[in-house]
Point group: D2
Chain length 355, copies 4
């Protein structure tokens, strides 16, 4: 229980990092949608590793085969299954972690949860590689949302103490992103952030960061109070992405620094439209959209895979030292952007069902 | 769609702040549980307003009547409905907001969502008052979890820039909380935090804060990867609580400030037990518990109800000024603690179904 | 787990036959619906016992109090809770069954399932009395479906070997029902059926029967293949009604008596409309409506409560004789009609969500 | 929405009759289960067409590839995907039904539901071929249930007016089935039933029938009242199987022919065991198992595919004549047995989660 998601539009994710492959079944998408392979591939490319020195050197082309649900180039409305067969699965890389639990990875918890039967190679089903089918499904969701004029985008908000500006300022939403593989709004932080990542790589260490996501053009009045809030539903999806440890809407934790009078979003009727003068609540009040862009930020921890020696235990409960080798990202944040957009798109598509 | 929660153990919340009352149906609790009214009342009391100057002066005794599911003082295993009849519902207090949307409240979003038919009095179903039945259900959940030795507690981690210590340090989990209605670990911050709230009240303003929750004695190996992570499931519940705008597990957003080598939780086999030397991940890896206490922090925004004049619009889309009167908490954080514990207990009980 | 129903429009049923009362929470009904008490009461009356000699003499007025979700006489769109307080709960009637399991009742299975903690009085939560809140919710659903021109009705298709005609013949759908409390299409069978029930009552015995339900004016193209067929979704609801042991769509079991060429429903384009010349499939093909009325038949077993002496066991596993007294229906079929219509209406309303 | 099934153990079915292939993802099966390919193949073989003259001549070897969830020959506990690539997909066979709706098939309803975008070839996702992945998943479920000593079996109860004896008589449960591909308890009816099928085939017509399923050794006390009854949950699954139009538990519709005193199942304490002297309720009371075998019967309509000329309409709403050719079963009942067992096993496994 854990790899099926959604209420009305559902996705079912399967596969392992070093098994036959990875895939996704999408249930209940609209019929007649043109499968825009060029767009889907552009999205898959944003997540794909091995493109440059900022990501792992492991190369995966991530070519998908559509096994069902498409006929004459369009969705049938029935379950769409896409499968990505693994090609570059060098299992020997992982022989040294067969019996030793990498700190802050899922090795130990997966071992306990599945009585040692789970596929440990490359983290198996826990691998970040499982986000590839999520990006595939997210691309389909984005294509459908586009028809409703809804757009989902993201940028790197912070790497270490280098901070980009925020989507909470409406002006920043309009700005173009120069580099799709390393999206920042204020291009001045681009080089500085890359430098921080370089430092981490040179140390054979890793760093995390914060991504900010924006949902543009979602109507007011979407969502429900209490247990089906937009925040709660998005949160369920966002925490599915490996490495996510924090989530805040609008100003989030910073709201605790101010008085109500300083951060309440005042309404304004302007140009035949209800807006709020600020968007500190990230476009959601009482769990329901207020017509402003939905904005939230996601904290990603540093990749736990580092080459430095660490203390840990093995399957015999012995305290041991571990040095992991292999091909790891010093920072997954740039690649995480499209993944977070994807799960956001899938969730919003599901939420919109019935409206 | 929005007021039913849970997968196997479910709760269904109903009612309005100024209607007949508020209540909850709990579906699929174990049979034979002794209804410990004293304990339940002690929990309800922690949430109840009007006890002291730190909360709203509105007095509600929150006396519940159990309408079903209890026989001879014990749960039958069949749906338990508890109902709290409203007593102190002075509707006239809210006549001035009938046509004007309070900034950062759900007035506008509820109006749009329900085509103007929702009960606006005292925020209706959006009212923080709806957390009373959640605390009732949480008390039942806590009683069941107690039998499994699982304990859920919380403290005020931050009010403005006054910070308490964290449960991430195991020593702090063991410390006694002196004042259950205003729980802090380091008693030195107690007075300072109260002073900050006093300042806000005197300004007729409001402030938010951060609560940290701890789940003690939960086994390793609970949870699932990807879409049913412990983080995702808790998040769905936590964001149901009015005013919550952020959530982080363990170090959360701070993880982005460090290198992997600095924050990875190294394992240690000690006293016949697997522990981690630090608990920066808040007891969860790959969505599954690792045997350490589960720790998370919740950001609560300042109550939007303030007495200061604010700009807003009315139902005719006219820009107007609003001054709200009435009985409001300058800071809901102290009362929110037991509510966050309650939804945590309900969620954990549901997660444990099947283990 | 068992008393919450539905996917998008949900109902949560609670209460016991001899406890405080019985009730229902309806989640996610449209806002603005006028609560037509006269209509609701007319539906409740069709189910209410004690009206005549064909039903139990136990009198329950079944007066509901709406505890939430209605404001100024209309639904708010937020959870609607209705509660019926028990008045006529003479618990002493049931003292003789406290320790003895009535054959074909839920006494034994409930006792095992809930470790003896369930309320045995009058079958507790297993009582047919729990269908009263279902009829309440069904009335609300019918009011909403009426706005879409969808009508749900039923008649007694069979009592013993006395058979009414069928809705599978379109002409019969148009005919008026004379006696709403004992609905038959062919009035000739009315007296004969009543005579059969009289015979059973005079024998202090009970009889079952078959009810046929018709959903008029449901569009073609509603439903899904495989796991969310109209048949499967209705079945889930229909088997919730106590005493139901069989369900068939259209000709159902009789289809096994014919060749395909004899029972295939041929299409005909007539008066600018696609119809089928026969409706042997009950309006559903591949799990999806074809535009014809949806027709199904439900088998109800004889009430297990009879006054004849029966062999059974007690809680000490001793073989004993049992004679039950009390107020029982010799035949629940007439009262079951409105209950089956109600659960049908609730299910169809849920299915239509998203179309 | 329609191809994902289950509450805690879930299956997600995908594929089309004449597309790339068909498959299933199983979510939340226990880890460590040995994949007994021999057993799985024996089950797949029972469903496989083309083996003999009683089924369609279309040959499909139905060889599955396991794409995920199995490591070193055992289940990992993570999603198991099995895929059967289509080999014998002669699309030209179906060109004549591209624009014409076959009576009593899903052609018309699928066309309306999916705006004409669904894959019509060989019924696409509506094809009986989709039961192959269900049988695969059912085999896995059976392997797990075997460990709990639960056994699921079935026999052909009726073909036309040729009737086999029933599992309601405990003696019949113990009897061996001689011919697994055409299971009957009383071997005397074997030849007669086959003759009836022969007659239908010679007429280029089709016939339906009734299958009776038995779940042996399921404990008393499993299930829930009202909306999660064993009957309701099984019904949801059973009606997923193409061609099913009726379902009855125990005596089902026949219960309406008797007085309560004639059919109530009296309890008996015998050999340290609670049994009922008869099993007219099919092992379920109040929605909960009573410890007797769970017995139910399923009505299957005659395959709508017949070679006789029929009246129908085309996509332009013109009344036309249709003669379908191709390879069809004159009677799907023998092959349906293993399919009904499979969905029963999947459902029971899901129901048992949490016990």
């Amino acid at each position: 229980m854990g790899s099926i998601y959604g209420k009305n539009v559902k996705i079912s994710v399967f596969g392992e990092s070093h098994g036959q492959g990875i895939g996704v079944v999408i249930d209940n998408i609209k019929s007649g949608l043109f499968i825009d392979d060029e767009f889907i591939k552009s999205q898959m490319d944003r997540r794909r590793p091995g493109k440059n020195k900022f990501s792992t050197k492991r190369k995966e082309m991530d070519e998908y085969e559509i096994l069902s649900g498409v006929f004459n180039g369009r969705t049938t409305g029935l379950p769409l299954c896409a499968f990505i067969r693994n090609k570059n699965n060098k299992s020997r890389d992982y022989s040294n972690i067969k019996d030793v639990f990498r700190p802050s990875h899922a090795d130990f918890t997966g071992y306990i949860r599945y009585d040692g039967f789970n596929d440990y190679r490359g983290s198996g089903h826990f691998s970040g590689r499982l986000t590839a089918p999520i990006v595939f499904a997210g691309s389909i969701a984005k294509l459908i949302l586009k028809e409703k004029n809804i757009n989902i985008k993201s940028h790197i908000k912070r790497i270490k103490n280098i901070k980009d500006v925020s989507y909470m300022d409406m002006e920043n939403i309009k700005k173009d992103i120069k580099e799709v593989d390393f999206p920042v709004i204020d291009y001045d932080v681009y080089t500085k952030m890359k430098e921080e990542i370089d430092i981490a790589r040179n140390k054979e260490d890793s760093i995390g960061g914060v991504v900010e996501v924006c949902i543009e053009n979602i109507d007011a009045g979407i969502g429900d109070p209490i247990f089906e809030t937009i925040e709660g539903r998005l949160a369920k999806g966002i925490f599915a992405i490996p490495g996510v440890k924090g989530l805040e809407f609008g100003m989030g934790f910073s709201l605790a620094d101010y008085y109500g009078s300083e951060v309440n979003d005042e309404y304004d009727y302007k140009d035949n439209n209800v807006i709020t003068k600020t968007n500190n609540n990230g476009g959601i009040l009482g769990g329901i959209t207020n017509g402003m862009p939905v904005i939230f930020s996601v904290a990603l921890k540093p990749t736990p895979s580092i080459s430095k020696e660490q203390n840990t235990i093995n399957k015999d409960n012995q305290n041991v030292k571990l040095k992991t080798y292999g091909r790891h990202d010093p920072c997954i944040v740039p690649r995480a952007c499209v993944v977070l957009e994807a799960i956001t798109a899938i969730t919003i598509l599901d939420i919109l069902y019935g409206y």
